[in-house]
Amino acid sequence: MSKKFALRHTTVAVASLITLISVTTVQIATAAEKANKKPAGTYVTGDFHNHSTCSDGSLSMQKLIDKSVKTFGLDWFVQADHGGSSARNCTLREDPFEPVAPALGLTTSSTGPFPPATYPTGGQPATTLKGPNQSWEATLPGGRAAIKGDGTAVPKRMWVWQEIQEFQYKVTEDESRARQKPIWIGLEQNAPGHEHVSMAVLQGQRPWPQSGVSGNATLQAQYEYCFDRSDTDTSRGAENQWDCSVAGTTSTDALNTTSRKISGTNSSATPDLGHRKTIEGLKWLKEKAPTTSYFVPAHLERAGVYNPTGNRGFNIEHLRAFNNTAPNIAFGFESMPGHQAADTRGEYSPNRGASLANPNGGIDSVGIGTYGGTGIYAAKIGGVWDALLGEGRNWWFFASSDYHNRGSFGADQRESNQDFLPGEYQKDYVMARKGTNNLSAEAIIDGLRSGNSFAGSGDLIDRLAFVACAANPALPRAAFKALVEKAAANAALKNGEVRMNGCATMGEKLVVAPGADVLVAIAVRDPQGKNFSPYSFPNPSLKQIGITQPLDAPVLDHIDVIGGNVTGIVSPTDLAKFAGQEGTAAASNTSAGIKKVFNSTNWTATSDGLRVMSYRIPAVKVSQYVRLRGTNLPASTPFETDANGNPLNDYVLLPYFDPSKTLPEQPGKVVCSDAACPAHMRTIDGVKYSSFDVSAWADLWFYSNPVYIEVTNSFKVVGAK
């Protein structure tokens, strides 16, 4: 597992970065709002990173949206294809139903957990030259001439800015209004100097509940033109005549005089140029859409460590730089990636990208694999995420499905050996304060920004109220505990939050006097019934330890309360603390650890699945944070969790085929011995191993965002309110 880039490269990158960022602008905020100033809200489910045939996905926009908000019931959705150019017209619907025998005998819409008449939907994966696989060139009335695109390729490829501005936005808005759910268009940016970023500019878009005059995605399209690495158009958006300059930035003079954007990216000739361009993009968002945009690095460990002469991953210094540049826009990461049913979970692996022609030419994902489906940046206690939280930053955890296709299965089939559809496996649960109004995209983006959210897989939990309250010294301990626990339980039952003065929830900070006791209360709901797994045979991972539990009816085993100290924002000039790869001091928080474990022995369970628990942090002396994770797997589940309950490397559980195809396929670790184990499991010498979707359904986790506790004479938590 070689590390491809030395620290010196990182140092060079940071040195360059610092010349660019002369002033850090970390947000300063106040303590949690008083309870009566918080409009009522609920946690709403959604996903902001999935693909259609307008990039490298397999579905039309309409079908992808239908799967997301109807079949799997998401409350909100963002269409986010890659930037650059593409040849296929994703605004066309799927062909009329082309039967592909649904797997698992589920042949009618009345079978299974899906709502009637939604399964199977019309249209299996569109075949070549049909439905949304048809080209823009073949389907636009103006043909090739109507395409503002690149090159001489046949069919002609359309610039994504044109797709967004002229075609995709209309479909998105129509779908949103027809379905009465906030659905808007974003982008999975090919970030210059890095791999990918999930982002959106809502400004101008008018999804439901807005009605009447149509909106536009012009700013989103312009961002794509200006800042997507794969968009090499120099036309300034044709008649748009865009200029990508940002007021008051040092890089404006680097704009190409023709394209009016920064040309190029990281290369040996222009090290770090791409990263600087990405920073410029953030400044642009801050200028154009300061409260209606977001920028969330996606699967950020997958492409390895940062390379100043290539477009690879993200080190912690880049996350810090993003957050410093635009704290209200760059406020988190997608460290629970999509592609959870892939042969290497999340598509994380060693030597990633190697080929037969170049067998050693790949890149090691940071951490090599995911850990319980989450990248090492968030999964490792005391690692990158805890380092960022230890500064008191507003840096939040998100998940995405990153749906492209189901591998060898069709979109209407239930197995997958590649991706899960949005809402099928992973969800972001985001606090939306809509008051008496309809749910809106603005409220959801506010919720994303606030940090009042949690994410998880397999519907392990579907409700969470997580709060830290300053213990009232004048109330009996037992009574105070009962009061706060009851408030948490009530909130969870209402799918809301605790609104009580003297308490703070996720993304907020509780400001307390030195020596105060803090009561942490948690109420989660382990949903009763089945999740969307098509498998009801016993979980193979749990079977190893004698637990029989259907894959489609997971049970929350325990919750870890993870805490760490806050020691203030690290200055970009303090390179030793600011910059470094995973595992270095700069990317670590040694104070972080598991502070408390809750399970059936010390939580109160009710028949409706509610689990209520609390514990007291006595006499706090320093500023700190607490966050949660939970899983269906007990500690010391072989190949899944260690003795402390930490998730183990999924790549070890699911070793990949040799990328060069010169070595035999490696077996898995956990045998899938049940007669119902599906045929597509990795099978060696007649032994089926838990793999692909089965291994994902077997290993479920949720992560909450943190609650900060600021002690008045200790470090200030600047990233939370």
Partner: protein
């Protein structure tokens, strides 16, 4: 000058007992004494949002000298309130703590040491009303009811 008649029988406790309010001569029943305590604690708790309220002596006076609740003493209470008062003066963002009212207060189960059980309803109504039933030990002394705590020096809470 003070008539003190404490009965340990719960049946008898339901009857009116003659007590004298602190500093006065009006007889109070146990029921009234419980209500008096709950009213006072509610009033003083509601004032814990200012430095003056945090510094009031009236609130600690509701606690017995031997108050001990999960290792928390009356001195700890005073220190905590003082610390919050000091912190509030220097940092107006101080979150302070949840406030609650006590209603339906009733005393029962008094023993020979005049330690009784106070049952009541604790309610926070900042935005979403939360109520719980609770009970705690109180000391009845010279006609006044004081919080007494669970007398445990450690706490699992």
């Amino acid at each position: 000058m003070i008539t003190k008649r404490i009965f340990s029988s719960s049946l008898i406790l339901s009857a009116m007992l003659t007590l004298t309010a602190c500093g006065g001569n009006n007889p109070l029943s146990l029921e009234d004494a419980a209500i008096d305590l709950s009213t006072k604690i509610g009033t003083y708790l509601s004032e814990l949002t200012s430095s003056a309220g945090l510094n009031t002596k009236a609130l600690p006076n509701l606690f017995a000298e031997k108050f001990l609740d999960g290792g928390f003493t009356k001195a700890d209470l005073v220190n905590s309130l003082t610390a919050n008062s000091t912190a509030l003066e220097s940092n107006p963002e101080l979150s302070l703590f949840p406030i609650a009212t006590v209603t339906n207060a009733k005393l029962s189960g008094c023993d020979s040491n005049n330690i009784c059980t106070l049952n009541g309803t604790l309610t926070n109504a900042d935005a979403d009303t939360t109520s719980v039933e609770f009970s705690t030990k109180v000391l009845v002394s010279l006609g006044v009811v004081y919080f007494y705590g669970d007398q445990s020096s450690t706490s699992s809470i």
